[in-house]
Symmetry: C3
């Protein structure tokens, strides 16, 4: 019971910054920005954070190992999330061809249904990683365990303060980015998918690289894939639920480039994680894919229908 | 020689119900219903039957193992079938852009060609699993061997009677489903893909779950993947051939949602089967995907061009 | 340093025939033919050469093994190349929906960017396979080492002569094929993807099969996947760069059937290579896919916009 609650708290506060920023954007109706930051967080963690970690770890160690079963469970859940992003687009195209046609209302219902399934799957994953199969994740949790000598109340207070600080800082950063964007001439989607993802994942980034250089690949892989998973299966559904609370229902229909970016990232991640070992070329491969996707989003013109 | 014939008989009679129902539907020109039931049988076995089996087995055993090579061979063949369903859609889109344009006749020829390749691949798979590499499938066949003490003629007669019975029952069930559908207001494709698949695979379903709970995962995985494989590489091509006999040629072009459903199911199946072990979260993941696809087909509006 | 140079020389001369033919076609503005031959070389090596090798090897040996890590590294790089071919098509579709619309110039810039990333990834792969992790490729290089007793200058001269000979021969073959094509009535894309690929890879083909029958699967897999990799990550980018030199910039946007063909080939290749062992059914599966794709390209009508 305690572990489940701890996991939920961790997931909530660990993504508090993302949730707060996205919540503010949602309340303003900026659903495109919210979606772009979801996409960016997923591919940022999978490609950039993990890619750099594997590359840096690979410069020190010829081969590095991690628990394959633990990694694969997370990657399959991430695949589910990627599929959850494909389905609304498929629905839109298929419904468009019928006499009744496509309607935003049905799209929202469909998205809500998928969000509920993803949300439930996330809690099953928590039960799997924190309870029934926590031995698989022991390597990943080891470091955290030794660091946690605080009492529960102290920990919660510190988390709250840190969260508030991160939220403030994020708000400031986003403001700065916005002004830089306008002067440099970058599109909204490029900023959301590429730049916010780099800035917003700085903490995960530095920790994951440090752990990789200490040859603690379980932890490094756990942070990178775990963060993506939390965004995809926890933050995204919560944002859908929140959008209903704000009276501006958001659907899960992403743009074609976003869907393709997530799908190919998860596919290459699966190829790299399925053998339970890494070397530097796999880091290069993840970073190359990040570069290719960055080029795509850089040249992508601004769409007409920016949210009101 | 005996084994090959046995395998062929088994494949034919094991899918006799599906073949007879689909044959009747084909003779009435209901190609959309036939295609929906092919899709439903594939994803029903891969996601629902296997998902439940892994979940139920996983409640009793922490880890369960099966022969990876045997499973992977079947999954790759299933991938071929999924690709065989993608190709006619790709052809349609590409041909539409040429001056000559797309024609139903060429689509049928293309489909017939693919069906022949799939049919031949199926017989190679039979040779592989029943002759040259039957040792890989020993775990899966063990149980069946002990049960088979009947003479060949007796077995064939019992198979024929059982088949006739199943066919009658299926016809009755489909009739009931049709009337329920009309009163509840479900679409044809939802009934075909989701409901018929649940009812039609009840036998595979119960056996696969029982075997999983007895920790005979080779058998459980073998039934679920094997059934999908027979539908995809044996039943589907035979139905194409039959459609020519009925003078109403059917092509292999499925709707976009059906193609996506099969492709993502096979992809997740590959991720789950490639390590040769299962745990309960993998069952949850397969069932989650089934739910997501169920939601898609539930909200999908009825297309205009229902077959005459 | 010597190894890197050797690898570069090998990659350049090993693909000299492809480069020269494609270069001539490029200078005439026949970009569609060039793209079709890139597609054909990739799927020809992955499906036809590897498929035949595994099948022939499988008729002599029940199971054959190869180094999984080495193969997977190459397959992941090949996945990157496949993604590099998807992105320009995705860009085209997404940009078409924006007010500014799609423009050939931006498409070329995007393609150039992707080509540079692919080119750099190729050199990283060279460093990986020839320097930091050459022990993984030892099985693959063994045979070649014993054959190379020539001095460097002699080797380079022989390579140059052989290359010139191959180029002449290729030119002749292509001419013959062209005239046969016209009399038989095959489309340009079928000839480029299927026929040129069979003829152009004859050398790789025979060597790979011979090695498979001697149970040297590392070498066989290395040749087939390595050739595809060189085409995708070295030849294709070089052709993009060359096209700028000729003043007729080529982009990386392939037709939908070509993109699908490469993606599904790489996916099935990954499924087959991820366990590090092969048997005859895997050869059949690769060849079946080749047949299915061959049928697709055979029935595909000639597009209107053949290059000037």
């Amino acid at each position: 019971m305690g572990h489940g609650l701890g996991g939920l708290l961790n997931a909530t506060f660990g993504n508090a910054a993302e949730l707060i920023i996205a919540g503010i954007a949602l309340s303003k109706g900026l659903t495109n920005v919210v979606k772009a930051s979801i996409t960016g967080s997923i591919i940022g963690n999978v490609l950039l954070v993990l890619g750099f970690s594997i590359l840096m770890g690979g410069t020190k160690y010829k081969e590095q190992r991690f628990n394959r079963t633990a990694a694969t469970s997370s990657v399959i859940s991430l695949s589910l999330a990627a599929i959850g992003l494909i389905i609304p687009t498929v629905f839109h195209r298929a419904a468009d061809r019928t006499p009744g046609g496509w309607s935003p209302l049905v799209e929202q219902k469909l998205s809500l249904g998928i969000a509920v399934v993803m949300f439930l799957t996330y809690f099953c994953m928590l039960g799997f990683s924190l309870r029934t199969h926590k031995h698989l994740y022991r390597g990943a949790g080891e470091h955290e365990q030794t660091g946690r000598q605080w009492s529960r109340s102290k920990a919660v207070i510190i988390l709250l303060i840190a969260t508030a600080f991160v939220a403030l800082l994020s708000e400031f950063l986003v403001g700065t980015i916005e002004s830089v964007r306008d002067s440099v001439g970058l599109t909204e989607v490029f900023v959301g998918v590429i730049i916010v993802a780099i800035v917003g994942n700085a903490a995960e980034h530095s920790t994951a690289i440090l752990m990789a250089m200490k040859n603690k690949m379980d932890l490094s892989v756990g942070i990178a894939i775990g963060s993506s998973l939390q965004i995809a299966l926890f933050v995204a559904p919560v944002l859908i639920f929140l959008s209903y609370a704000f009276g501006r229902p958001m659907d899960l229909e992403f743009t074609l480039p976003e869907v393709v970016a997530v799908v190919v990232s998860v596919f290459v991640l699966f190829q790299i994680s399925s053998d339970g070992e890494t070397n530097w070329i796999e880091g290069i491969q993840l970073l190359s894919l990040y570069l290719i996707l960055g080029i795509l989003f850089f040249y992508l013109p601004e769409p007409a229908h920016t949210a009101p």
